[in-house]
Amino acid sequence: MKLSEIVDALEAAVICGNNHLSKEITTCGASDLMSDILAGLSEGCILLTGLTTVQVVRTAMVAGVGAVVFVRGKKPPQEVIDLAREQELPLISSPYSMFVSCGRLHKCNLTGLDGRR
């Protein structure tokens, strides 16, 4: 599904990357453990996390993550947003908890990193 549809499903706010909302996303990883994302098949996925550090953006860049969703309405510090903008990584803020955000995306047919659902 398109990133714009994910934004709608989560009633989310786009922090940066508005020009990348037509990007196709099929898999989703939800973790506060960046090593899990680095160890998984995370290329092109959407990453849901409660962490808002600069290392979330670096992990996403290294792993080739398609977009990052911060749950519980979190917004990262400005330097994190600046880095993401520079790297053209879309950042999104979902008002819902990790659990509810995942549930909404699962309902939209997104799969886990391994393709299962």
Binding site: S31, D32, L33, M34, S35, D36, L38, A39, E43, T49, L51, T53, V54, Q55, V56, R58, T59, M61, V62, A63, G64, E79
Partner: protein, 146 residues
């Protein structure tokens, strides 16, 4: 014959800049049109390695060379060293602090993930003697699909 060589300083406990070297290498490899899967493996190894140095290792360095048929990444530090390398290579074994975990690292997956992504890895360390990790990535015709 070495065609290209880069080296970077890694500063102990500099969590803000950790990973910058790996991103620069990733950008360089993309500009040289290497296979995306190979680039991803190299970047992941570098990033996990940089985080290890920043979290555990004292000051260190990352050097990276692109040769005709392989890439070599060496990460070394002057930190406390690894008393039991075999244990450190096991998935889930960790000596990280809560501070590290709060940042999403320190789950004992760094070295195992580097081993998984490199074509060859040698870890040399002794207690009090720092740590050196040498990784090789083959630039084969398949382009690094594993």
């Amino acid at each position: 014959m070495t065609t290209l060589k880069k080296s970077y300083h890694i500063k102990s406990r500099d969590f803000i800049r950790a990973g910058e070297a790996s991103i620069q290498i990733q950008t360089l490899l993309k500009s040289l049109n290497f296979n995306p899967k190979l680039i991803r493996r190299v970047a992941i190894c570098g990033y996990e390695g940089e985080m290890n140095v920043v979290m555990h290792g004292g000051d260190g360095s990352l050097s990276f060379a692109i040769n005709a048929d392989e890439m070599i990444m060496e990460i070394s530090d002057d930190g406390p060293g690894i008393p039991d390398i075999e244990k450190a290579m096991q998935s889930g074994f960790s000596t990280a602090s809560d501070e590290h975990r709060e940042m999403g690292f320190g789950a004992g997956m760094g070295l195992p993930n580097m081993k998984k992504n490199a074509d060859d890895i040698i870890v040399e360390s002794e207690k009090g003697q720092g740590t050196r990790v040498r990784m090789v990535f083959f630039i084969d015709k398949g382009g690094g699909v594993r």
